[in-house]
């Protein structure tokens, strides 16, 4: 794939900024949910939906589509916002998140919303499902890629390493695992709660190709995905280093914002910061 033009990059960054604003609005309306991870990973989701994955929102069940298995179900706000922007469902529906009779369940459900490839919430399960989907692709000689999106705290789960071991053994080169390495989880910093480092060495020793990525840089994310697709002999993991709460100063790098939503005043402040890119520009709606 040719490298992106400046215009394309700016467009992706603008979409990511809009997705972040939607995340704030969704969390405010829901009055519960996760703030830091979804904000930090907006660039990853936008890159996947707008530049990386071979998908068609009008044909969510297209058998040859690339799959996205969201293993960390609590990233639902960014997942839904990216999908809505990509055209899977109306953006107006986003503020129904977590509300009764909504298709936007607190954690994603494949049977409820078209375009959702799996159900997740309990951590560690998605990577196994992604392995199964990648394996089915191999058995059927399909050319689709399976992307798995995981949190870093999620790596604590034993099931993850069962799946990582299996993928290594079976050389699933059609599987690309993307870890949001934001260093926080509910109880604190990952290295205090349960150290993951050296994470790269762990994956490499299980037979994976590892790429360290600036997870808040759309060019780097897209470039790494293209490199991963070119790796033929093993599965690839992108360790995406991100800033949790990215774009909202009072949330950035704070584990306290892992699992809580903003209150109305905080949301107003957050939206102002996102619209003005932290005061660097005049917001369009100010």
């Amino acid at each position: 794939m040719p490298s992106l033009t400046d215009g394309q990059i700016q467009k992706l960054e603008k979409t990511a900024c809009e997705v972040r604003q939607d995340i704030i609005k969704m969390l405010l309306a829901a009055n519960s949910g996760h703030s830091a991870g979804p904000l930090g990973s907006a660039d990853i989701f936008v890159s996947l939906y707008f530049a990386v994955m071979n998908i068609d929102p009008k044909k969510p069940d297209w058998p040859d589509r690339d799959r996205l298995v969201v293993s960390a179900g609590h990233y639902a706000p960014v997942y839904y916002a990216a999908m809505a922007h990509r055209g899977y469902f109306p953006k107006a529906e986003l503020t129904t998140l977590r509300k009764i009779n909504s298709r936007l369940q607190g954690h994603p459900h494949n049977e409820t919303l078209p375009g959702i490839d799996n159900s997740s919430g309990p951590l560690g399960q998605g990577i196994s499902q992604a392995v199964g989907i990648a394996l089915a692709g191999k058995i059927d000689k399909k050319r689709y890629h399976t992307y798995c999106f995981m949190g870093d705290g999620e790596q604590d789960e034993g099931q993850v390493w069962e799946a990582v071991m299996f993928a290594g053994k079976n050389k699933l080169n059609n599987l690309i695992n993307i870890i949001d390495r934001n260093n926080i989880q509910i109880d604190g910093f990952t290295e205090d709660v349960m150290p993951l480092e050296p994470l790269k060495d762990k994956y490499e020793s299980f037979g994976w190709h590892v790429i360290d990525v600036d997870g808040n840089n759309v060019c780097e994310i897209i470039d790494a995905c293209n490199k991963a697709k070119a790796i033929n002999e093993k599965p690839t993991v992108l360790i995406c280093h991100t800033i949790p709460g990215k774009g909202v100063e009072f949330m950035e790098e704070k584990f306290e914002w892992h699992g809580v939503p903003p209150n109305p005043e905080q949301a107003k402040d957050a939206l102002h910061q996102l619209r003005t890119l932290g005061g660097r520009i005049r917001g369009e709606h100010e």
Partner: protein
């Protein structure tokens, strides 16, 4: 009186009745399914010979997936395969599957309504010498509350084969439960089998024995003994525990007024639980239970254990007499 319409094994009451482990029927069915349905895939967790999937593995190596000793991942992979159009059969000993992957069964499989067929082998106390850790006596209870899941405990190897093939032809998750030991073959290839339809193997109106798994055989023997004493007992093979054949169960409550449940499982939450829920909600009658009395097992020979923990013909006969006494004293 044996129900002639069901074409049961004519040698059922003979001393030399053929005996085959139920799990053998699973292995045979998988090979047949492999030939007819290219979407059938089989997953194993380092127990391919004892769970009888090795023949499928030899015949269809490209559709046979060795997952190692990692049941949580195995269940998740099965879900992923099903979400991609495969019909995965995933199995291990019942203490491991579903024992070690209940959450994966609940969320990855049942909540997603993934078309995964789950086999729990070596269930019940008759596993024997391995002891309590390997005797799955809680598996039905532990999965019965999960929505979308069909639960089947076949009575013999032939029924197991039919259940396995039938499961491949319905959409949605299924849990089967098999036992290790050789047990009498009750049915024949001509005996009807339909998921969700209990069969009345023996007719009678003094009481009803509702059983599942190989203890259906002991229930028939008990009914035969009681018939010689003038007590006519209906014996129902309730192979499908979920969805329950409520029509047949309610009819049994109404027409016999006394029910005994028989299962190689804890008496809480399994077959007895399912039947009691149905009976109390529709037509309450006295019930007695034969099964594991809320206790862990131990090492021993299968027949010694069944004797010690009260899952024998003698105990079934006693339970029938108790329940009839209660019915009469009402």
């Amino acid at each position: 009186m044996i129900n002639k319409k069901l074409n049961l094994n004519p040698k059922i009451f003979d001393k030399d009745v053929e005996q085959v482990p139920t799990r053998f029927g699973y292995g045979e069915a998988l090979v047949e399914l492999g030939k007819t349905n290219p979407n059938v895939v089989v997953l194993t967790g380092d127990l391919s010979a004892s769970t009888r999937v090795d023949a499928f593995g030899k015949a269809f190596p490209d559709r046979f997936i060795e997952c190692g000793i990692a049941e949580q991942n195995m269940m998740g992979i099965a879900a992923g395969l099903a979400l991609s159009g495969k019909i995965p059969f995933v199995g291990s000993y019942a203490v491991f599957v579903p024992g070690r992957c209940w959450d994966q069964l609940r969320v990855s499989v049942c909540y997603s309504n993934a078309n995964v067929k789950v086999a729990g082998a070596h269930a019940g106390i008759s596993v024997g010498p391995d002891g309590a850790t390997h005797q799955a006596l809680e598996d039905i209870a532990s999965v019965r509350a999960i929505p979308n899941l069909t639960i089947i405990a076949p009575c013999d190897s032939i029924e197991t084969k039919k259940a396995t093939i039938a499961a491949a032809n319905i959409k949605g998750p299924v849990y089967f439960r098999f036992t290790r030991e050789k047990t009498p073959v009750i049915t024949t290839n001509d005996t009807p089998f339909k998921i969700g339809q209990a069969e009345i193997l023996n007719e009678g109106k003094d009481a009803a024995i509702i059983a599942c798994g190989p203890l259906v055989y002991q229930s028939l023997i008990a009914a035969d003994i009681l018939a010689h004493e003038g007590v006519k007992v209906r014996v129902i093979n309730n192979h499908t525990i979920k969805p329950l054949d409520e029509k047949t169960i309610i009819a049994a409550a109404k027409e016999t007024g006394a029910i005994v449940t028989v299962e190689e499982h804890q008496i809480t939450g399994g077959l007895r639980g399912a039947i009691a829920e149905c009976v109390t909600a529709n037509y309450p009658v006295p019930m007695e239970a034969v099964g594991m009395p809320n206790s862990f097992g131990e090492s021993g020979q299968p027949e010694e254990l069944l004797e010690k923990y009260g899952m024998t013909v003698k105990e079934i006969v006693r339970a029938v007499k108790r329940v009839i006494k209660r019915k009469k004293s009402k």
